[in-house]
């Protein structure tokens, strides 16, 4: 494995071992222990489209491990606008850095960059394509709560058509034998070629427009944002999107260990009343972005994470 472009670059064994590293790095991510494993290393942050969260999370991960970060800067003022090819940009940054995290509006850009680069590339999102570091932090969150990734029942709800987050995640969950319940409005169903692909891998997949009727058996409910722009008019949006919202009263009869996740930012898919229930996991999930990326940075830079790290509870 050179870089991480899609989840196919990782075996199930790789995934579990990286998530295990991540668990040990928790006190470092929380700032309770300083462990400069990546001292002297430089991460190049190449974000060709804005993403405050993912970029900040990579930057924090690198700095918590004693490494440094250089940023591409605002795309509007950088050489990209002057017509530089991705190939040329990569040649330059490749010479300056030890590893590159990138997001690009065009699909396939990360694979292209990896072919052009000497250093490993971490794909932080390419068009409607892949977003494997998000998938890793999602898997970490699930593993932390349930102690396993095997055989869980996972409801994915909301916009399953355009969300690359749910596409990558569903592939990964199927590899661990999870049952998927895909709950979305007709207009925003998961693309048929992805469902065909999942079923080809032996997945148990159910498509439904109903959300609330399916959450009582779930181990994980993964909510996503439904964007107004996907609908012809505001009325249609209000009518449809209303069925994909959670309120604290909706989770009264769910499994005790069920967790609710969301890639954030949320609008009103999850009512603030849910935040204080034992099921809410989305803020922790956002924090896990740092620790999952720390573990990935170490793995791709061939830096071993110590078997024991002291400092506060993990």
């Amino acid at each position: 494995m050179k870089g991480l472009i899609t989840m196919d670059d990782l075996t199930n064994e790789d995934i579990l071992s990286i998530l295990d590293d991540a668990a040990r790095l928790l006190p470092v991510a929380r700032g309770k222990t300083y462990l400069p494993l990546l001292e002297g290393k430089i991460l190049g942050n190449l974000f060709f489209e804005p993403s405050t969260r993912t970029r900040m999370s990579f930057e924090t991960a690198m700095k918590r491990l004693g490494g440094d970060v250089v940023n591409l800067g605002d795309v509007k003022t950088s050489s990209v606008v002057k017509g530089e090819t991705l190939f040329d940009t990569i040649q330059m940054v490749d010479g300056y850095t030890d590893i590159i995290a990138m997001r690009h509006p065009r699909q396939g850009a990360a694979r292209y960059a990896q072919d052009a680069a000497r250093v490993p590339i971490l794909n932080g999102g390419d068009g409607a394509g892949h977003h494997p570091t998000q998938t890793m932090l999602d898997l970490f969150t699930i593993l932390q709560s349930h102690g396993t990734l095997e055989g869980l029942t996972v409801v994915l709800a909301g916009d399953l058509r355009y969300g690359r987050t749910v596409h990558s995640l569903s592939h990964a969950l199927v590899r661990f034998g999870c049952k998927l319940i895909l709950s979305s409005p007709e207009l925003l169903r998961m693309p048929t070629e992805i469902i065909a692909d999942l079923r080809e891998h032996g997945a148990d997949v159910i498509e439904t427009e109903d959300l609330l009727g399916n959450i009582n058996d779930a181990d994980v409910v993964y909510m996503t944002r439904i964007q107004k722009e996907r609908f012809a008019d505001e009325d249609e949006y209000t009518k449809v999107a209303g069925a994909y919202k959670l309120h604290d009263r909706d989770v009264a009869n769910v499994k005790a260990e069920m967790i609710i996740m969301h890639p954030l930012p949320r609008v009103d898919e999850i009512h603030p009343s849910v935040d204080s229930t034992r099921h809410a996991r989305y803020f922790e999930q956002a924090f896990n972005g740092v620790v999952a990326r720390m573990a990935l940075l170490c793995r791709l830079l061939n830096i071993e994470v110590p078997a024991e790290i002291h400092g506060g509870e993990a």
């Binding site: 090819t85 190939f87 396939g108």
Partner: protein, 158 residues
Amino acid sequence: MADEHNMRRVTAIRNGTVIDHIPSGQSLKVLELLNIARDTSVPVSLVMNVPSKKMGSKDIVKVEDRELTQTELDRLALVAPDSSIAIIRAYTVAEKLEVNLGKEVRNVVQCTFSNCITQNLREPLPHRLRVTSTDPLTLRCHYCQRPQDLDELIHNLL
């Protein structure tokens, strides 16, 4: 033999290339693919929808005074993967060539997905389509991983 009869439907050529066993109706695409349609200096004979033992019916293309290169053969594989090619010199078959689609089609055609990184033709790395199955022919872009629409692909030749 039916095949010999078919060959006599058009005059034998002195020098050039005969492309036989093209799926019926695909010969016009073959001409387009080989950039022959636009080259008015090359005499071309075309036979369409003649009976074939092997295929039911087929097309044949004869191009005079031109021998196809390996690159052109690779392109041909996209529309007529089972065609047979004979290079003719002095009225006799000098060479028989096979169309061979390897594991990857490199720098022959551009990915059909409108938001693929390879849409910027100034990007210097090769256009790469992976052959994911040969029968029926399916291709996926190495970069964006999108499956390719073969009918659309013909218009994306480089």
